[in-house]
């Protein structure tokens, strides 16, 4: 290499580089002023949008708190419905009814939902038409309006083939079918997130499919599955429409039983109270809404905490 031939090339490269830099800078700088304005406008639009959503949430909570404030006492939780004296009426039977119904829902969706999710992710051959049909089916069911499940419950569970009458178990079954797709979809996401290396490693060491699932996949997918169950339960707690059709009776002053006639749940009772003319019932309904909101907040916090606590990074 001769010293003389590199010198002009380096100079040429240096010239080219500085020329490019100048051009880029010119291109960047020329729009930076306009950029700033657009950026500010955009950010404010987004913050307004977010603000509106949060404002809606906050104003609902505040409004209900003000409306229902006068009745926020312990009697709200321990009192029974009363038409004679709404000032001392409470939601005890509705809360117990909700607990029974939701208890039944959980008993149903955990095995069925997790089972279906495991099958679809681990066992199902997705080229077979019946497996594809099941997948499609579940995704469709997730979007069916809740009132249609009410019709289903009335026709098939309360009357029809299953025929258990207007009992809490019917409410459980109806709601379980409603939220099952949510659990299955969440479970599938959770199981899918477990790295294949874990599964493969287990199988390579001689474990059977089920042993692998039980010992490796499920524990790893547990937080996601739990979150799905909690969100499904939170949704089921707030549902009123399907239960209106399967007989969540208004006026129940005794504690409900699973297979005995006569139960009510919190959202249904709130709805019925809100339809009454007397002012005290309106306050009672608003107070009931606050109880529900507290419940929802608790469940959501539980879900978030679970997610944070158990989140594993692969």
């Amino acid at each position: 290499m001769t010293a003389g031939s590199t010198e002009p090339r380096t100079k040429r490269v240096a010239l080219a580089t500085s020329g490019a830099r100048a051009a880029t800078l010119a291109a960047l700088q020329s729009s930076s002023q306009r950029d700033k304005v657009v950026h500010t406008v955009f950010i404010s639009m987004m913050l307004i949008a977010l603000g509106l959503a949060l404002l809606g949430l906050v104003s609902l909570i505040v409004f209900m708190a003000i409306e229902g404030g006068p009745r926020l006492q312990w009697e709200l939780l321990t009192g029974v419905p009363s038409t004679i004296s709404p000032e001392t009426a409470g939601f005890r039977t509705a809360i117990l009814g909700t607990l029974y119904v939701i208890g039944g829902v959980v008993l149903l969706i955990v095995p069925l939902g997790v089972g279906a999710a495991i099958y679809l992710e681990e066992y199902a051959d997705s080229t077979k038409w019946w497996n594809r049909l099941i997948e499609l089916n579940i995704q469709n069911l997730a979007g069916v309006p809740s009132i249609v499940f009410g019709i289903l419950g009335l026709a098939f569970i309360v009357r029809g083939p299953i025929s258990i009458g207007f009992v809490a178990a019917a409410g459980s079954l109806t709601l379980a079918l409603l939220v099952l797709p949510t659990v299955i979809l969440a479970g599938r996401e959770a199981i899918r997130a477990v790295p294949p290396s874990i599964t493969d490693g287990s199988l390579a060491l001689g474990a059977t499919r089920w042993q692998t699932i039980k010992g490796q996949v499920l524990p790893a997918a547990l937080p996601g599955i739990l979150t799905g169950i909690i969100l499904a339960v939170a949704r089921a707690i707030g549902e009123a429409a399907p239960l209106l059709l399967v007989g969540a009776v208004t006026f129940v002053t005794f504690n409900p039983k699973f297979f005995a006639d006569g139960y009510s749940t919190l959202p249904v009772m709130i709805f019925q109270y809100a339809n009454r003319p007397q002012e005290e019932f309106r306050i009672l309904a608003a107070a009931g809404v606050i109880v529900m909101l507290v419940l929802v907040l608790l469940m959501n916090s539980l879900a978030v905490w679970l997610r944070d606590r158990f989140e594993r990074r692969w």
């Binding site: 321990t78 004296s85 117990l96 129940v252 002053t253 005794f254 006639d261 003319p277």
Partner: protein, 339 residues
């Protein structure tokens, strides 16, 4: 460790909530009796086993008008007979009869007499029944207190509300003699939906046929008070609502007197009780099935209902039956108990 601790706390919290709830059971009877003037009524209770040894259940369903009445009866009854579970559902008079006639309920709260079609269904399913009258009720035609109309004939109400009605302003109603500024105002009709017993009764009595009604009225659904609120907001609106809601309504609305051929009869509790407020006065009934009445707790409940009909009607703010009507019902029950 952390998880277990929190889980334990949650478990304890849940358990204590359940325990508190169950503990509330024994206080319940006391609560019902301890509210102000209700104390005397609970103690004044008429016949009906005050021994409290009956057990079983009584399932009522039906009208949303009669429902609150039965709920009061149920509350008072369960204070005396805590072993009996009385439930009151509200599926509407017709929906309730549906369940009643296939044996799903023991009794149906009804704001109208059972229809022929419903009797057929009951017979088909082998359900015999009897009924008691629980209270009197009426429908009031309400307008704004400021409207210069006090009385309407049935024909005028029919003209406003019938199918094919062409009444769009207050001036379109024949024979009202209104000042020009009122006559030119649009008449806005509010009424309950076709699911309501009130709707059935009104259309049949005023327009001659159930379901015969103009198709441009504003449907207020289940919320009878919505008509009152509407009139409070619009002085030229009108609607028809159960009498008990009118009594709750306050001074902004007034009920029109109705002329059924015998002069204007005002909508007052007296006129409803003495049956002069026609044709919009009605009885409220509870139908019991024979198989249910064969059970001691149901019969006892029916007896209790009649014996305490006045107190129940007052507490629920309905128009009570006249003494004669109550005697009639008492005789009916006595026959049932005897036979």
């Amino acid at each position: 460790m952390k998880l277990r601790f929190r889980g334990l706390v949650a478990l304890i919290a849940a358990l204590s909530l359940v325990l508190a709830a169950c503990g509330g059971d024994s206080e319940e009877t006391a609560t019902t009796g301890a509210t102000g003037s209700d104390t005397t009524t609970t103690e004044d209770m008429g016949d009906g086993d005050s021994g409290g040894e009956l057990t079983g259940e009584v399932r009522l369903d039906g009208s949303s008008t009669v429902g609150p009445l039965s709920e009061v009866a149920a509350e008072l009854y369960m204070a005396q007979q805590p072993g009996v579970r009385v439930t009151v559902a509200i599926s509407g008079t017709g929906g309730g009869f549906q369940k009643f006639c296939i044996g799903e309920t023991d009794a149906n709260n009804s704001s109208r007499p059972i229809s022929d079609e419903e009797i057929e269904i009951c017979t088909e399913n082998g359900i015999g029944f009897d009924f008691i009258q629980a209270a009197n009720d009426a429908l009031s035609v309400v307008v704004s207190a400021d409207l210069p109309v006090e009385c309407m004939t049935v024909a005028q109400v029919n003209q406003i509300w019938g199918a094919g009605s062409t009444v769009l302003t207050w001036g379109d109603v024949d024979g009202l003699d209104l000042p020009e500024d009122v006559a030119s105002q649009p008449l806005t009709p509010y009424g309950p939906g076709s699911d309501s017993g009130t709707f059935d009764y009104f259309t049949e009595e005023i327009n001659g046929e159930v379901g015969n009604i103009r198709n441009d009225y504003i449907d207020i659904g289940e919320d009878d008070l919505a008509a009152v609120r509407a009139i409070e907001g619009d002085p030229y609106a009108t609607g028809y609502i159960p009498f008990s809601y009118y009594q709750e309504a306050g001074d902004a609305v007034k009920a029109l007197a109705i002329d059924d051929g015998n002069g204007c009869v005002e909508a007052t509790p007296e006129n409803v009780s003495n049956l002069s407020y026609t044709p919009l006065g009605r009885g409220l009934f509870v139908y019991f099935s024979d198989s249910a009445l064969a059970r001691p707790e149901v019969l006892d409940f029916a007896e209790f209902y009649i014996d305490n009909a006045e107190e129940i009607a007052e507490l629920a703010e309905f128009v009570p039956m006249t003494a004669d009507q109550i005697e009639e019902q008492r005789a009916k029950i006595a026959a049932l108990v005897g036979g």
